[in-house]
Subunit: 204 residues, 2 copies
DNA sequence: GAATGGTTAAAACATATGGTTAAATCAAAA
DNA sequence: TTTTGATTTAACCATATGTTTTAACCATTC
């Protein structure tokens, strides 16, 4: 059950509104007035709680970036096969993004536009522990369980297949004529299709 | 050989500058003054040649959209196997986007933000002739050359694997530490890797 | 209930920004 | 050379927009 607008503190109302507006319009397209209207408060209050548009955006960006980082990264430290990891990762990550389908295009676009300094400041201490998985990959390659493969290519394949449909959703819906529900049904299928495809491609 | 700035007509200078600025900052982030400065001309001249920011953007969007549509679509009407088509499409499309790596994120983002009316107006008469390919797909499935597959899943797979890395390039470079050259080298590899992966996954 | 300190809003402010105007410039035609 | 029409610019305009100010409001404390 989501808190109704009336139950929220002004600060919460602002954050909820800012998230909605920034996600829809991006940093440049968002207007402080839009956020105030959406929150049902005065524009000056935004500056009372968050000093500037930039500060408010920074707060939202951080929060939304969390919704973009796969929640299953601890998975990579578990004692399972590479195939199992891929299977679980794809299923869970697609599942996660289905709950927040506007997040990927927002994040990727802002990363593309914000100055690097801004990003470094925000995204510090967020590096995924990948060494263990790389070691396991090398091991299973040596054991001839999986074909030799460049880890970066595997990474690109997994992320591409999981995330791109959400990034391109408006275009895909435009050219195929699907509505939101049909699209989500296709993504539901992909929870199985994507890991199958990846695993088939590296299985020996 | 690219025309030097001095050789270009004012209109060409404006278009070149507008393309650069819009691609880098998007419709909302771009400033008419930036474009004027980049073109080395007065701001009023922008309005002399293109009535408004919206008109100028529309012109650029159309041009850039062309750089986003695969130049090899006629390929689908040729008399070759599905496998050959996939192979050529991936190789050529990745090749094409490597020449214009900023285009995908720009287009996808603007499609996400511009009102649908605007897009419909711009993107009319641009539908890829896909029926013939679909028929061929069905035929080769019946002939048991390829596995049964949802065409929309195949489409998503191909586009994802070809385009996503460019959309996510800043992020990928940020988390892997690659520079532009390393990234492009990886994409060079992908011209072979991607079609191989796709074909493996549907070959019977 | 007066005082206090945090909270909210209306209005004002400064600047940015898309767009316009009117004059200067320039090249080609007469 | 003069004229004419297109091109280019500087200055200006109106509005949008992020931010600040000032005062009203409101709950809590003394």
């Amino acid at each position: 059950m989501v808190k109704s607008k009336k139950d929220q503190s002004p600060e919460e109302k602002i954050l909820t509104a800012a998230k909605k507006v920034f996600l829809a319009k991006g940093m440049d397209g968002a207007r402080m007035q839009d956020i105030a209207d959406e929150a049902g408060i005065n524009k000056a209050l935004l500056h009372y709680y968050f000093r500037s548009k930039e500060k408010l955006f920074e707060t939202i960006f951080l929060e939304v970036a969390n919704a973009f980082v796969p929640k299953v990264i601890k998975l990579f430290e578990e004692d399972t096969t590479v195939f199992e990891k891929i299977e679980i990762f794809c299923r869970e990550y697609i599942n996660q993004i289905m709950q927040t389908p506007y997040v990927p295009i927002f994040i990727l676009n802002e990363i593309n536009k914000q100055p690097e300094a801004f990003l470094k400041k925000i995204l510090t201490g967020r590096n995924i522990p990948v060494e263990k998985f790389l070691a396991q990959l090398q091991k299973e390659i040596k054991q001839k369980i999986i074909k030799p493969i460049e880890p970066v290519q595997l990474l690109l394949n997994v992320l591409s297949l999981c995330l791109f449909p959400f990034v391109a959703r408006p275009m895909i819906q435009l050219i195929t004529g699907m509505d939101k529900n049909s699209f989500m049904a296709v993504m539901e299928q992909r929870k199985k299709e994507v890991p199958k495809l990846i695993i088939e491609s590296i299985k020996k």
